[in-house]
């Protein structure tokens, strides 16, 4: 009870968010340092929680001093721990990397912007740490509400696409709430562990089945799973670049985490795979997601929009992996949450850096970029190779696990879809690289600078980008130990090895 780190992880960024928003009216120059401090403390404590869990096992924390089914309890195991670290550290790095871009875009509302930024982190971290179904809903709404506001700050269509996101997101949130209501009426509890133990005798009940469906559809909307993805490309494309590199890597991945959490800790794998037998249907849906995401990405002419469709197809990877129903698939899905968060933030940060310099992300405007922004483009290449799945980078290893899982489960369609989308990614990225490398620089839109001059982005933006691209390779090299130390212990025993 004396170790407050799981609570501090949430409270400190929250307190700093309020301070930042108040400080905006007193002394503006303090807003950014306070925001960095809040986000940094969050990252620090999440790493501490994770190392503690790694050494001593699961951490429990009951808020308000009430035991779990009556009060709200935090329950941090390795799965939460590792996602916590990914979310808070990436959000921290992004805050540093996008400082300049944000300062240009929101000169007068910096305080409010960073308050929303911190609250978004609080929402995501809270979703990941909590052990209570309703608390998860409230935090989901904190994260969603802040992301609606942040996305709408962009130019052009941003408010409209944000409003569409709001409608879809609210439907998703309400469906989740309905699902929780059905669980509550059947079990009388809201605590995840408690619900899981009470659910066992109720597996045959239709209400539980419907509760499961509604929770999954609700989360499916929020994570942009294929037929429900329509809000994503517009919302992330028109968002300001500092925001899209925050929300795009984190929001959808955290939702995938919630899906896996519900599957293994609330409904338990027996229910998801044996009672419902939804496994192969979900795998087929994710095959559709992968193929459609890849095909739609081919048709895009804007770099950010292209990345958005890649996200849609990557969500298919993770959902499909989780539903393969064996340990290798689940390992691949969990590993891919981490890897994909890293790869996506790399892509969107690189896109943001390019946008910072040339103010346009249409593919025809990228000509000659290798000459003008070599470092940024090198990072983009690294991220692209990882998305394609080239061996030293981390993207290869999660794909490897997913393909192994697909072979074990006999889902050859899923394997084919994975290979197909890798092939499409090869085409996509090499087209981008080709334009950037061979394209005639004089042809493009040049903003008056001569084509040969290097207009590399400032070091403050490049350093985080370089660290993240190095991280891609480091993650790849240490995949074996990560899987052995972190992911293997959390694979539920019910899954086939």
């Amino acid at each position: 009870m004396n170790d407050h780190t799981p609570a501090l992880l949430i409270i400190l960024p929250l307190l700093f968010a309020f301070m930042v928003s108040g400080m905006a009216w007193i002394k503006k120059s303090l807003c950014y340092p306070l925001a960095v401090a809040g986000s940094g403390l969050c990252a620090f404590f999440s790493i501490r929680v994770f190392t503690h869990v790694l050494r001593h096992g699961t951490m429990q924390y009951s808020l308000g001093g009430w035991e779990a089914p009556w009060g709200i309890g935090y329950h941090v195991d390795l799965l939460n721990g590792v996602v916590l670290v990914a979310v808070s550290v990436l959000a921290f790095i992004n805050m540093i990397a996008t400082r300049k871009a944000a300062a240009i875009q929101f000169p007068e509302k910096e305080g409010a912007f960073y308050a929303l930024y911190l609250l978004f982190i609080v929402g995501l971290v809270g979703i990941v740490a909590t052990g209570d179904l309703f608390n998860l809903y409230v935090l989901l709404e904190v994260a969603s509400l802040t992301s609606y506001a942040l996305i709408a700050l962009g130019e052009g269509r941003a408010p409209l696409s944000s409003l569409n996101y709001l409608y879809m997101g609210t439907i998703g949130g309400c469906f989740y709430l309905l699902g929780v209501g059905y669980l509550y009426i059947m079990t009388g509890s809201l605590n995840m562990a408690d619900v899981a133990s009470l659910l066992r005798p109720l597996y045959e009940s239709g209400a539980i089945w419907v509760a499961f469906t509604f929770c999954m559809v609700g989360i499916g909307v929020k994570m942009a799973f294929f037929p429900l993805h329509v809000w994503l490309p517009n919302a992330y494309t028109y968002a300001p670049s500092a925001v899209s590199s925050l929300i795009a890597p984190l929001m959808t991945k955290v939702m995938v985490y919630v899906m896996i959490r519900l599957m293994i800790s609330v409904f338990c794998v027996d229910f998801a795979f044996s009672v419902l037998d939804l496994g192969s249907a979900m795998v087929w849906l994710s095959i559709l997601a992968i193929v459609m995401g890849a095909a739609l990405a081919l048709a895009q002419k804007n770099l950010k929009r292209l990345f958005c469709y890649i996200i849609v197809s990557e969500i298919g990877y993770m959902v499909g992996g989780a539903w393969l129903g064996n340990a290798a698939g689940m390992t691949g899905a969990i590993l891919h949450i981490l890897n994909d968060a890293l790869m996506t933030i790399c892509l969107f940060l690189a896109a943001g850096t390019i946008h910072y310099r040339i103010n346009n992300l249409d593919l025809d405007h990228l000509q000659g970029l290798f000459g003008r922004m070599p470092v940024t483009m090198a990072c983009l290449v690294a991220a692209g190779l990882s998305i394609i799945g080239v061996p030293p980078t981390c993207g290869f290893f999660s794909k490897w696990y997913l393909i192994t899982g697909a072979l074990q489960a006999g889902q050859y369609g899923f394997m084919a879809a994975l290979l197909f989308s890798s092939l499409v990614n090869v085409i996509l990225f090499f087209r981008v690289f080709e334009i950037g490398y061979y394209g005639d620089p004089g042809h493009g839109h040049m903003h008056g600078s001569s084509p040969e001059t290097r207009t590399e982005a400032p070091a403050a933006m490049l350093a985080p980008l370089l660290i993240l691209s190095a991280g891609l390779v480091v993650m790849g090299v240490f995949t074996g130990s990560i899987v052995a130390a972190v992911i293997d212990p959390i694979i539920p025993a019910g899954l086939a090895r």
């Binding site: 409270i11 709200i72 929303l116 608390n135 009388g188």
Partner: protein, 274 residues
């Protein structure tokens, strides 16, 4: 779109209807929801927190963490509306002034903003002559509404109500002033800066009380530890802790309601409203 909508809606409805079959009958005393977790609240709330209104006790104590984020959601909405709508550097557009003595209306297009003077008062573009009855009644009502709001916050332990409801009523009293007079009158009494600061301060009080609990050596939001500073026993400390966070909730909710109204009704200019 319409047919797709009907299909989706019917599908969802059919699924939900199908599930209704397995529900315990409505109002059953032996349903899981009434027997598993909730009896403890009803039986123990009074002796554990000294709050007769069990909803308040559960809201601010047993599930106080949820309520903290509920307040945070409201805060997010306030900040969100502010950041989306508020425009700071606006060009001086059309302004209307009225000479109080002669009731002549002046229309000033652009240019320099005239200084404030006691002979002229600024009026809205859609100004209609003031209705004396509405103005007077609203002015008389506002203090009573505010008094009632304070009662609702303070008496939340014993009767329905609490920080949230009281905060909304407090906010509504200022909104009433803005509607019955004009927005500038309300903003003169309750400036934007104060409002935005209060928004952060209220929810800071809530989180701060929780953090003080940590500093005093108990868990987050464990109000029992406040007994050391409040000089009361642990049960009353819980009761006082609940009161403290209710005040925080009330302040934030009031400020956010005013802020959202001001930004919405003036489209972010904060000069002319409904």
């Amino acid at each position: 779109m319409k047919t797709a909508g009907i299909i989706i809606v019917l599908l969802a409805g059919a699924l939900l209807l199908y599930a209704t079959r397995d529900f315990p009958p409505w109002g059953a005393l032996d349903s899981p929801a009434s027997t598993h977790v909730s009896p403890r609240y009803l039986q123990k709330a009074m002796e554990e927190t000294a709050v007769p209104n069990v909803v308040t006790a559960v809201l601010a104590d047993y599930r106080g963490f949820d309520t903290m984020f509920e307040t945070t959601v409201i805060f997010c909405a306030g900040i969100g509306c502010f950041i989306l709508l508020r425009v700071f550097r606006q060009r001086p557009g059309d302004r209307y002034y009225r000479h109080i003595a002669t009731e002549i209306t002046l229309h000033i297009k652009g240019g320099r903003i005239p200084k404030k003077s006691s002979e002229f008062e600024r009026i809205d573009a859609l100004w209609t002559p003031y209705d004396l009855i509405i103005k007077t009644v609203c002015r008389i009502l506002v203090p009573f509404i505010q008094l009632f709001a304070l009662y609702v916050i303070a008496h939340g332990h014993h009767s329905p109500g609490g920080g949230f409801q009281g905060g909304v009523i407090l906010g509504a009293s200022v909104i009433l002033l803005a509607i019955s007079h004009n927005m500038r009158t309300a903003i003169d009494r309750f400036s934007e800066k104060t409002n935005n600061l209060l928004m952060a301060i209220g929810v800071f009080i809530y989180t701060g009380i929780g953090t003080v609990c940590i500093l005093l050596g108990a868990g987050f939001l464990d109000y029992r530890s406040l007994s050391a500073v409040l000089f009361v026993d642990k049960i009353m400390a819980r009761s006082h802790g609940i009161f403290g966070v209710e005040i925080g909730v009330g302040i934030t909710v009031m400020a956010v309601m005013i802020s959202i109204y001001n930004n919405l009704a003036s489209a972010g200019k904060q000069d002319e409203g409904l």
